[in-house]
Symmetry: D2
């Protein structure tokens, strides 16, 4: 089975693994207070051009989303999000479990717009029953989105401005940020400037696990370590996160991984377009969503793993192919050849 | 100002008030353990033809919804509801505050169908990521709905069957049940037979306050008094609820109130139809939703209170008129005359 | 049965009931936006000498405690309280249900001291693991306490100062505040000056129900109405609370009720002391806790209701007698005669 | 600095690390559905002589405790635990954040007894206000305890029987279970027989991270994966847990690690006893708690790391030395020499 169903089905990138092996014998205090974490924090602050930013390392995306959002909201507030957002669909109600409603907006291509934020808030406060309703308390977007699409810098600036207008902190889920950085004009420094909180995802980018949260809004960062501990998102051997992120950030390995996986995905996209195979979403990143006849999908499934995405009509469905740091060119070539032969 | 904006803007029905005054000097133990509560429970069980049912008296609708739903769900489960449902819109996130997601379905006329329940659950369990998603754990509907519409007995039977198919308890919000009983073929006994939990609302039907929950599913009823206490929905002077419900149920006062307010509302509806004024929703109950030009709405507002419901287009909006046990015929006549004169 | 088991086993004080009856036919908007609530707010602000204070009317004590504390704390914070405090013992985990730990201190006579607050916080922040522990976020006390004891003004000033030192808002549960006002040198104005939040309880002081929360700390008051709605503590017919509190505050009826019930309780206390009957707690308020042989308790129980408090040793237990606005002198005389005859 | 402050300050045991390196290139589906997890589950079931047991792999202890307890309790229930228990002290309120109170019992040497459970429950249900109180819903103990002490099999049998009497599931926190297995007569099979849920901790026993939960009570196991996802305790690259536990269980490596660290700790204990140095707790496991003069502690701190435990009196404090799989004999010899030289 050649695996394309997700970007986290192998272990760690060799440089990450090497760093873990090389530091395995070192003894350090726990919970992220070790020198590796300190150095990784400093590296990330510098890349973000945000010397005052708070940086925390968590294990996984769902816990990161739930912990950051819980830190930002008061009990009667909810978080605005595209209805396809990870927090609204694929986290088993992690946000609601902390007491908060996800205020879902109908997205375009997985993305929401500044206009949608403005309209939602305007309508909300215009409603005479507004104080019987969940108050908007934060804006959550993903870059790239769960459908592989990305924001432009101009769009992100507008969303930032809309969020500011309504006094809503902006939180960017960066579980696949390496692909977003490769496929858009948005940089880490832009994110640090425009978002109150965002994270650089490691789990889906070649780490064993790990998400690096950057806070530029100190109010959300207040005693955030306590929330991490409470929500089970503080790793005892925190140095594992520091060690991995040091290697990930060193010589811009994270950017290199993003470029590589996106380049591979663009080869898939080109073949699909050349063959006239419709795409559920035209994604510029490492997730590709062809719509194919079900029997073709079954046939491909004998050799390649993919993620079933959704039924499109009686005879056809959309599936997802993911490339990753570990996708081998020979495996990709095989897939492309089989797609061309359809 | 002649008030039509809601059905809870006056005090108590004279018979309810009289019962409160007459029993004011009695001394009873608290928390619903007094003889008035006991008698009201027995009366309600008999009306429901459900001698084994659990009956609890709570103060208000939002707390009732949150307490019942929290009693029924495990932490990873959510509650299916129409997206216009009270729990999804007008309770400031009370359900989410207990940790649970409202799984909103697009309703038809405020109502959901058995087919929607089947489709939702089928799609849910067909999704390979189903275990990363909130699990459906209950079905919530309102009768009448927040838009004044009612279910037929046949529809309720089908919803009951669909809920059973997916092992979901069925909960019916009866905040305005007196109107639902007056305007549909569904009886209290039907509700007790088809719902695992429902309530007969008093606040919007002439009590000072009070909602009577009926449980036919003992699993939800398990130590429910503890949940009531925890959620702040157990009244210290619980006898006030018992006394009011005794009077409410005595000689079917509750049915009489429902019939009266619905009959008055039907007079409004007839005038609106006669005048060719469009209705946002054709409601057979005590809420009527005419769509009117904004300047007409403003003009009416000088004399009558109504609830602004929603903007329809640039020049028109929908408003809500409610009748209630306390709506006087002379006030209604005035409104009807002014509507006819439009 | 002559009832002494609690102070909420009858209906409303005649003046309260009269006000409800007289205003029953009035029509008002709901949710506490009516003129009666407005006037009662103004009266209370004036009594508190706190013209800027926020005032909200809730239905019961448990919901008031949970709603106020949820409004004040961030998710990783807990509330310091005496371990006999109502929130720690008799609310079915209402505080924990909102996600917060009660940090229980061993009280002296139901009271905690400024020194205990200082010691707890000093030890907390001295602990190298402090950030793996629940952070102190508020101080909760009751006046009078659940054991009938009261703070002196000097003690309250010290507690206020200690809370300020550690940046903890101070919240005073005033479920029986009328007795506290009668039995201590603390006034409403003192409470408004020294507490960030407190409430004047009505349920246990002659109202049908109702607690008036006073906020002098605007941060806790922020959109508090939304929290009330979410926690089910906003009454639809909010005017019932306004009407009752108007009558309660008018001509200082609340002070009169407190004095009357405390004076009656002091008669019980004197008889107990004269008879050499030990007291579990020497209470200056309307709760009295004699320690009596079990057979005496059973004998008394044939004629009087009381609350069983706790077992003291094999042969003896403590019980509680409560006086209230509705305790009749002839009933009290009967009890005193029977106690003297022991 | 020679580190003795905890048992998780180095990386992974060489055999664990080797397994991770060897399998790094393999591609597997995520979330614990891979063959390594399957095999590790089978190995653990066999060691537990519990072929039907549910086995789940989580990342850390706090999240494991919170997820398991949330799965077991209804909203109005709490968990009985020793007041020194990890869930009551060192998890930043993780249990309360899921809505549940920790019902703390005063322990003896970190342990609670069957008698304490019986007494608590008897008193609880004897209290006439029991339904205003948090209901006991589970028993939580740690083996070994946070103070290094262990239960005997006889004690565990009694606790099991008491829990059964009150219909409370029993949950055993095994964060340091390898030490408990080495220092008591309790086996994995005993735990599987007597506990409804327990876990074999990896983080503090030579894994990079990981806790293996064993459920013999299917009611708690119901859709537990959904709770794991919701609580952020499901690792995307779940295979990392499977791979580590395979190596951990292979040839009883876990038992070997426990024996080794306990044997080293016993050497520390013997020196302390020989020197007449008092122990805060006489621990038979890998944590040792000498009471030393503060200046001695400071002096030791120049060369060795330890955990400050608590102040004992003005001049003396208790500190903790931990041994672990990675404690080198030469480092231990150095410490012992310095202790002997005091």
């Amino acid at each position: 089975m050649i695996r394309f169903e997700c970007d986290y089905n192998t272990g760690a990138h060799p440089k990450i693994l090497e760093a873990l092996v090389n530091t395995n014998g070192e003894a350090h205090p726990g919970y992220g207070t070790d020198p590796h974490c300190e150095r990784a924090r400093a590296m990330l602050r510098e890349l973000c051009q945000a010397p005052e930013a708070g940086v925390h390392f968590l294990v996984g995306g769902t816990q990161t989303n739930a912990t950051v959002i819980a830190a930002a909201l008061r009990p009667h507030q909810g978080v605005l999000a595209p209805d396809t957002g990870h927090i609204n669909v694929h986290e088993c109600g992690a946000i609601e479990a902390t007491g908060h409603k996800v205020l879902a907006l109908p997205p375009t291509d997985g993305k929401i717009t500044a206009r949608q934020i403005d309209d939602f808030c305007q309508n909300h406060y215009d409603d005479p029953s507004w104080d019987c309703m969940v108050q908007p308390g934060m804006v959550y977007i993903s870059h790239p989105t769960e459908l592989g699409t990305v924001y432009t810098l101009a769009e992100l600036e507008e969303i930032h401005a809309a969020a500011r207008r309504w006094k809503l902190p902006l939180f960017v889920d960066g579980a696949r940020l390496v692909a977003g950085l490769a496929a858009s004009d948005i940089t880490l420094a832009d994110l640090a400037r425009l978002a109150d909180a965002f994270y650089l995802g490691g789990t889906k980018a070649g780490l064993l696990f790990g998400e690096a949260v950057v806070f530029t809004n100190p109010a959300i960062d207040f005693e955030f370590r306590c929330l991490m501990k409470q929500k089970g998102s503080m790793l005892a051997k925190g140095r594992l996160l520091g060690v991995q992120f040091e290697a990930f950030l060193e010589d811009n390995l994270f950017l290199e991984i993003g470029k590589k996986e996106v380049a591979q995905a663009m080869r898939i996209r080109q073949v699909l377009l050349d063959k006239g195979i419709p795409l559920l979403m035209d994604s510029p990143t490492n997730q590709q969503f062809p719509i194919l006849p079900n029997q073709v999908i079954d046939k491909l499934g004998e050799k390649y793993s993919y993620e079933f995405w959704c039924k499109v009509d009686e005879g056809r469905s959309a599936i997802r192919f993911c490339t990753s740091w570990s996708t081998r060119d020979e495996d990709l070539d095989a897939l492309l050849a089989d797609l061309k032969a359809l």
